[in-house]
Symmetry: C2
Subunit: 451 residues, 2 copies
């Protein structure tokens, strides 16, 4: 049994939905389908979820919402017409939107999440109805019926363990089940959405629950690339990756997934395949628990901007037992999570994502460090970028660090930080943001360029 998830661009129009039903019906193992809300049809289009959020905002602040409402409905109307579906499908979508609007009007706190979820829900209604017109047993299955039980954190639901056992029962059902992504229900029967991009989370949870042989994630790219195409033209595609590699790559802004979306699938060791709705015969990228040893040890280069370095120096720091712990305690007290904390003898750096230390917190943190730790100097360096090279077995391969650092030299980019030694599958470099592009390009040349 395969669980198949289709992203927003794959359900953006009637034409796209014809493609995905073609994909679904071409393989009888594709028994459980998870769909996103209709996405952009072209680069200047608006996603249905964004329209719904706009509609919800308008209702809450009490301004005119007719235009947003009309746009949402017309998106679904167009799809229903393109697919020659019965107008009862559109009425059902509209009824759910209207019900959510009524909840918001009655100031029910669950109304906004209910409205935000109408995009995915509508997609599932449309796809299941269209499968039926093709003579295929397609059934809409609501997440509540499917068994996706979550903890109530509106916009940030967390799945409960018992969901997986419930989802396993979907295996007994006949035909093709179509589940809307992005939301679940609490034990009190309230609809709650996951964080943005949550259809990936639903897909991964369902794949884990039904113990799928394969979780296929259809997007609009042929495969995951070994580097961000923003920096390198036509980068090499990745045919296979391990979970650990994918997780490290995602961490540093690899962009295909939220790094946490795949966790439920990883935990159950379900193989994941990233494929392209517009080119379904391309092999895609397989992500698996283990891979046989490969010739090349570096499989990907990930990078992300928006980091800062909190630098603290104090003469004789290394004689002061507990200094590092107390510095991290101050950050923890102030709710600032950190990424890394390399330390010298009399100095320590803490690498933090810039948005985790906004200006107002920055002042408090600096004040407390000065007062409580009696440091000689504390300063914040912004505009840092992190570059990560990733690959299983890297830490046991002589010469990787040498190749990598030679690339920075080639690019004329100074390495502000190197963090290597804890992770077995990655090596991390800090640079000033302006050096990011040249450094990534040089690394690509070293590890993936023509020999």
């Amino acid at each position: 049994m395969k669980v198949v998830k289709f992203g927003g661009s794959s359900v953006a129009s009637g034409n796209q939905i014809k493609k995905i039903t073609g994909i679904i019906t071409s393989d009888e193992k594709r028994r459980v389908i998870v769909v996103s809300a209709p996405g952009k049809r072209s680069s200047d289009d608006v996603k249905v979820t964004d329209l719904l959020i706009q509609l919800g905002d308008s209702l809450q602040i009490g301004v005119d919402h007719e235009e947003a409402y009309r746009q949402v409905i017309s998106r679904f109307e167009e799809i229903v017409l393109d697919l020659n579906l019965d107008e009862s499908v559109l009425r059902e979508v509209q009824r759910k939107i209207d019900d959510s609007i009524a909840l918001i009007r009655s100031e029910d706190p669950t109304g906004i999440d209910a409205l935000k979820a109408c995009g995915e829900d509508g997609s599932a209604l449309v796809v299941s109805a269209y499968l039926q017109t093709l003579g295929h047993e397609g059934t809409y299955v609501n997440p509540k019926e499917a068994g996706i039980l979550v903890k109530d954190q509106p916009g940030g639901a967390l799945v409960l363990e018992e969901s997986f056992e419930r989802l396993y029962k979907l295996r007994e059902r006949q035909g093709t089940l179509v589940i809307p992504g992005f939301f679940g229900f609490t034990e009190e029967d309230q609809l709650v959405t996951f964080s943005r991009g949550g259809s990936d989370i639903t897909g991964s949870i369902v794949a884990a629950g039904v113990k799928a042989d394969l979780y296929e994630n259809f997007t609009d790219v042929d495969s995951v690339f070994c580097v961000n195409p923003m920096y390198v033209e036509n980068p090499r595609p990745l045919t296979s990756l391990t979970y650990r590699e994918m997780r490290e790559l995602s961490y540093a802004g690899f962009g295909v997934f939220h790094d946490e979306a795949l966790i439920p699938a990883f935990k159950e060791k379900i193989p994941v395949c990233i494929k392209n709705t517009n080119n379904p015969t391309a092999p895609g990228t397989m992500i698996v628990a283990e891979l046989p040893e490969r010739e090349e040890h570096v499989v990907g280069i990930a990078s992300d901007e928006g980091f800062l370095n909190l630098y603290v120096s104090k003469y004789l720091m290394n004689r002061e037992i507990g200094f590092g712990r107390r510095l991290l305690q101050i950050l923890e007290d102030e709710g600032v999570s950190f990424e890394h904390a390399p330390s010298g003898i009399d100095d320590m750096s803490v690498i933090i994502r810039e948005h985790h230390l906004p200006k107002d917190k920055e002042e408090i943190v600096l004040q407390r460090i000065n007062d409580e730790l009696q440091v000689d100097m504390v300063l914040i360096e912004r505009d840092m970028a992190m570059i990560m090279i990733v690959g299983e077995g890297m830490n046991q391969t002589i010469g990787i660090a040498s190749s990598a650092t030679s690339a920075f030299q080639e690019a004329g980019v100074n390495i502000e930080m190197i963090n290597q030694g804890s992770s077995e599958v990655s090596m991390m470099f800090g640079v000033k943001s302006e050096g990011l592009g040249p450094a990534v390009q040089a690394l690509y040349k070293v590890f993936f360029g023509e020999k």
Copy 2:
């Protein structure tokens, strides 16, 4: 005014003392002298301090101590005879030793420190007496009289701030003052010794106190070398170094000094010169607060063995706010100080000196980490060595990391850890101990070999 400190080998015999008095009288600025206890005259000789410790142990456990006593006295007797000094000098040395023995016999807790200090004290008596026979105004000055006030931690005295003001008054005195190293007095007038090697501490404190123009530290090498001569034959001498460079080099076992001995001098920005008693015209190594920019950015390679890596891995560690802090808290609770803590996404390493985590503590620490942090894996990897390359301006120089890592590759040594980014003057590499020699040799070749 110069403060000059002579190490154990420089006062090991009458002949050596003739050399140092030659050095003292050749420069009238050499006004304050600090001396160690007589050291080894040849490689199989025994240091007077070790004889005194043996004598103290024998007295405490009540075994025969005549032989140890006789050996100590005969060392001083020989020196006094060689220098043709009046026998009253020997009687004074002997009286102090006898007084200390009486303290130990009466179970006075200060007796052992008083006895251990007799080596330095005897050296100062002998050197000042010999200066006088040369017609030079040499005066023995006891640390109490000099003003070295310490906190009472027998064998680990800490200097009190008021010492510096008192020491400054030594500037008013005439002639050459000879102060025994290694000990000070508490406010309750008890003699307390510094940690082993404490004559360097005395010299540095005195230099800071009198605000010397220069602190000369005479040993038995022409200069500090840029790498441990154990690994490289005839390594390049270092003519000048900054305090920060010296401190980083000492940290990783550079061996010339306790890295803390020089701190009082550093704090007062007193220039320090390392010179050779046996070759006093050699320029030595100057250590100063700041240096003009040099052509070569790496000035030294230091290394040390005996580290371990405490490795902890836990799925989703990076989502758990406070994880790193709690791990360090456990170590702090158990009194284990750590060196560095590089972290990945789901894993964290803590580098600890092996002697800081003995077997009995290891069990408790591992147990607590398992119980309190619910980790997936915790393990300890022993036999690690650290290699540090040091140089001002290194962190802003493109290509250093590349040159360094290429050396490891050349040597066929895998880099287990890289820690770069916090210190402005060093870059640290972790390797398995067996790779230490080859790696240091290859690094030397890259940074100091013929171009």
